[in-house]
Amino acid sequence: MILLTFVAATPSPTPTASPGAGIFSSPILLSLLIWVPVLMAVAIASMPNPRGRYDTLMKQIAFFTTLGLVFILFVAYNQFENFLPTMQYEERLDWLPAIGVKYHLGIDGPGLVMLVLSGLIGVASVLASLGVRERVRAYFCLLLLAEASVNGAIVSRDMFVLILFWGASTIPLALLILGWGGPRRSAAAWRLLGYWGFGTGVLAIGVFALYAATGAQGFDIETLLKPGLSPRIQLAVSIVIIIAAATRLPLFPLHGWIRDVLAEAPPGVVVVVAGAASRLGAFLILRTVIAAEPAAGHLLSPLLAVLAALTVGYAALAALRTVDIRHAGAYLAMVPGGITILGFAAVSPLGIAGSVLSLFTGGLSAALVAGVCATLSDRAQSRSLLVLSGLAPRMPNLAWLFTIAALALLGIPILASFPAELMTFFGAFKNQPIGAFAVAGGLALTAISLAVLLRRVLFGAPNPEAPGVSDSSLSETWYLGLLAGGLLWVGLFPGGPKIPGTEVPLFDPGLINQMTAGISDIASPYVAPTPAPAPAP
């Protein structure tokens, strides 16, 4: 029955026929993205594996699971109707009707962007984890569960279910760090649990407060965040949600987990945490504060601008002073989050659009920079910047990838972060010029810290007393290359490649085109009124 539903052909009308439209549609497409990894995790967990005999098979299962999810996402992405402002691929089931909880899933443009990011991160994390040798079964089981919970948090339209997925993503990641992390893995895992647990608790408080304020009608986002809430309630709930989001993204000063987690976690976990799981913080702000509480959005935009500026500035300064390359990568991974929040602080349609795109680009660049630092320290057998020096000639692949990561953080053109940062800045200068200047200053500091880092690690004189180094392995190159490739692809073709001379898209309708669905609705409360005509000179 499920299979029949899966393959039923349901042509979807589109004003411009995009390749892939009408191939298939499924009423449980989003559920597949959540429960297929769970099922595969259970399958892996229950497979016998005497003396690690089937380790390779388990890795293959995990890889093909994530690849299959990407395929499903690819079809969903192509079939997505970007002219519709409503949710698509919706699924609704009553779950706890007594308290108004529904299993309600759905995505719009920004949700699709997050899902695409999560799909790419999933494949990259498995590739990055191919070098795991110990307790392979447990590792990949937990990795798939983590991906499933992230997907669930993205597509949930019921806040109760969102909280469950939000909190659920913490546990497998903490266990992965505790089981396979570096020397200080225990501190890192507890820190992750503490901060993300605190964030989950705060989020639950906010949601339940909203539930009470709306008359306990239900936890559906449209019910909880309906228009008409008083500005005071909007403000209080928004502050709580921003605190919850700040623990996840992270934003200064609730960033205490990121240094240890990204420094001690294995590369596959680093990619998931930096790339997808942390972006949920910004996504939450978009879904709740920006989309549904415009009065609070306007009032809190200076606060968001301050947080953005502090985050970017602090991250750059901290990266400049650290002597541990993985710590530097962790701090630098905070920079894209600050830029995303600046776009929200702009409270303008263009700023919000820029932030949505920077959810994708920021996830990839944060994962890339943290992943490169992790891989480089593994390959160079040292994390100390006092030891690592002049590695470029001996590690050309990693050197190039590190350079691309640095350019991605700075928003250099041909990478996807360029249009994202451009739109964010263009939108931010209207309403938050001081915040935009401050973030630009932070980006300048980031450039300085990257210059120092590149100089030390890649382009300096080789250190004869350093341990032997080797370039990245095939799987390491692939996972980092996938992240860099995603940035390059969207950077070169933000509107999707087209048949030369026509407007007909090839296999990719363009991430920027697909993400517009719903953005106009989200941004409509923030449209500035048309100013009066200028007097004649």
Binding site: L350, I412, F426, L454, I512, P531, A534
Partner: protein
């Protein structure tokens, strides 16, 4: 095609070329093809009266369905616009690159990473073609940022050398700050006008609803800082001077010459925004250029590093040209502003020629100290002659522009005249120091081996020749008419004579000083250079001690306090948990009594009117 040709060359170079010879051949081929295409476009322009325009959509999206119409959609277009100025500027850049590639083929044999280096050159050409042709400021910034990134990679080319890598970080950080300023300026303008395409922006500067003078002033200042950084106007020229010794000479030559051309054209195109703001802003910008025009050549007299000196001399000359350009917009409603652009078109190849010539001499003499150089006129006549030609051109390049655009009997004219004198002194000093006097070198050095390297000596000469032709052209009204398509009245012969005389005074002063005592002059420069170095180090030390270190230390300490704080919170949580467990196991009655007493105390202290 002007974009595709260098891009295709870059991709081919990146993917398939490995040897040094094939890399340079590929880069030369790509640049020559682009040159031929540029000439083809130039020929096409002669057969029409309007520029070539082509528009390609990078992306476009609608962001709102209400509000001001110009803010409802956002897109970036490759709005390519090829007019006479574009074509001439691109030709100047291509010729500089061709000459540098040719020189590097011979003199750059010992440089590492030939494939990488030549690939960067073609990428830079692609970016400059985009900068010169883009009329969409967002797309222009995109190409600008690509060029900036590639420039950094070229200046940091000597991997493995600590000094090179250390100085190259300035080449990333400082221009990035100014590039950010350019981005902020474009974003500011967009936020007020809803458009970033020059064709639609310029007509509405004073008519768009909600425009204010303040917004134009802020935008103008940001744009000016952005452009000034890449024009390498003092004090934003550190990225050129700091890397002048450590970067490959070809990289320094290309970086300074080509960026000055691209940046002056961009300045010329965005000047209407600055003019639309107010007179004070424009005067402020002119004053800044004036200061740069005097400071840069003055600083080139401090110290005996030849490539740094020629970089500063060139920077000073570009500053004079920029001042003329701005004055042309201020006084004459842009009629003579193009003269400033024409001057930079002549300065750029001269700077490149001078850099390459002095690099040849320095390489043969195995020293980067002018005090140790000498006798190049006898031993290396070609390079020495090219250096002389470059010095003369740099000194005279701005004479035509000044004759067109500045009255000599004004404060601005007087100040710029001083600058011209200093530039002439700074330029000729290099020639005199390297070409005459005994060759002083350490004992193990063989002076008889100081000779020209065959195959490399022609390139600086041709560049200097081309720059001389452009200097002469810059004094001809027809050339200016051709560049901007407007009619310009000819300057008086007297005006030209006055400004040429200023340069000649500088040449003469320098010659007399060297004739009297070459060693004395160079010793004074060396001493001044040492003091300047100490002063710079002291200033940097103060900044490092009182600004950078405390700031970064605060960040580091915060980074350390956070985990300590987390651990304390964790211990507190654990302790409270243990207390709760202990309380659960404790007998109930005493616990209740203790709790009651504690609560009563708290209530008594907090509630008014009970205990007090």
């Amino acid at each position: 095609m002007l974009l595709i040709a260098p891009l295709a060359t870059f991709l081919l170079a990146l993917s398939s070329v490995r040897t040094r010879r094939s890399a340079s051949a590929m880069a030369m081929f790509g640049t020559v093809v682009t040159l031929l295409l540029t000439l083809l476009v130039a020929w096409g322009l002669t057969r029409r009266s309007t520029p070539f325009i082509a528009t390609y959509q990078y992306f476009s999206m609608s962001v709102a369905f209400s509000g001001a119409s110009n803010f409802q959609t956002f897109g970036i277009q490759l709005a390519l616009h090829a007019d006479h100025l574009t074509v001439v500027a691109l030709l100047a850049i291509e010729i500089c690159m061709i000459a540098t590639i040719g020189w590097h083929q011979v003199m750059g044999r010992t440089e590492p990473g030939a494939a990488r280096f030549h690939a960067f050159i073609t990428a830079l050409l692609f970016a400059f073609a985009g900068i010169l042709m883009s009329y969409d400021l967002a797309a222009l910034f995109g190409f600008w940022a690509i060029a900036g990134a590639v420039t950094y990679l070229m200046l940091a080319h000597r991997w493995g050398l600590d000094a090179a890598a250390s100085r190259a970080r300035i080449a990333l950080a400082l221009p990035f700050v100014t590039d950010l300023s350019l981005l902020c300026g474009i974003a500011w303008i967009y936020a007020r006008y809803g458009t970033q395409t020059l064709n639609t922006l310029l007509p509405i500067l004073h008519t768009n609803p909600g425009w204010t003078v303040r917004s134009l002033v802020v935008g103008s200042v940001l744009l000016m800082i952005g452009v000034a950084g890449r024009l390498a106007l003092w004090p934003l020229n550190w990225w050129i001077t700091q890397t002048a010794v450590t970067a490959p000479p070809s990289a320094s030559a290309i970086a300074q010459s080509t960026w000055s051309v691209a940046a002056i054209v961009v300045l010329y195109r965005v000047m209407p925004v600055v003019v639309a703001s107010n007179q004070q802003t424009l005067r402020g910008c002119i004053s800044a250029c004036l200061v740069a025009a005097i400071a840069a050549p003055l600083l080139s007299l401090f110290g005996n590093e030849p490539r740094r000196a020629i970089a500063l001399a060139g920077s000073g000359a570009v500053a004079v040209a920029a001042a003329v350009l701005m004055n042309g917009f201020q006084v004459q409603s842009s009629t003579f502003a193009i003269a400033g652009v024409a001057a930079v078109l002549a300065i750029a190849p001269a700077v490149a020629a001078g850099m390459l010539a002095i690099a040849s001499i320095a390489s043969a003499m195995r020293t980067d100290d002018l005090a140790e150089m000498g006798d190049a006129w006898r031993r290396m006549r070609a390079s020495s002659g090219a250096l002389l030609a470059a010095a003369i051109v740099i000194g005279l390049a701005v004479s035509g522009a000044l004759a067109f655009g500045v009255r000599s009997r004004s404060f601005l004219g007087f100040a710029l005249g001083d600058a011209v004198v200093l530039i002439a002194v700074a330029g000729l000093r290099l020639f005199l120091a390297a070409s005459f006097g005994p060759l002083r070198r350490r004992r193990a050095f063989e002076p008889d081996r100081v000779r020209e390297t065959p195959g490399a000596l022609g390139w600086p000469y041709w560049l200097a020749l081309m720059s001389a032709a452009l200097v002469v052209a810059s004094m001809v009204t027809g050339w200016l008419n051709f560049l901007d398509g407007q009619k310009h009245p000819a300057p008086s012969a007297g005006a030209i004579v006055v400004w040429v005389l200023a340069a000649i005074i500088g040449f003469a002063a320098c010659t007399v000083a060297f004739a009297l005592s070459k060693d004395g002059v160079l010793a004074a420069s060396a001493t001044a250079g040492v003091w300047l170095g100490r002063g710079t180090a002291a200033v940097y030390g103060v900044i490092e001690r009182f600004l950078i270190e405390p700031t970064t230390d605060i960040a580091r300490r915060f980074g350390d306090w956070v985990p300590v704080g987390d651990s304390a919170v964790g211990r507190l949580t654990g302790l409270s948990g243990q207390l709760a467990l202990a309380a659960a196991r404790a007998p109930a009655l005493p616990l209740v009594i203790v709790l009651a007493v504690v609560l009563a105390l708290v209530f008594a202290l907090v509630a008014p009117g009970v205990a007090r």
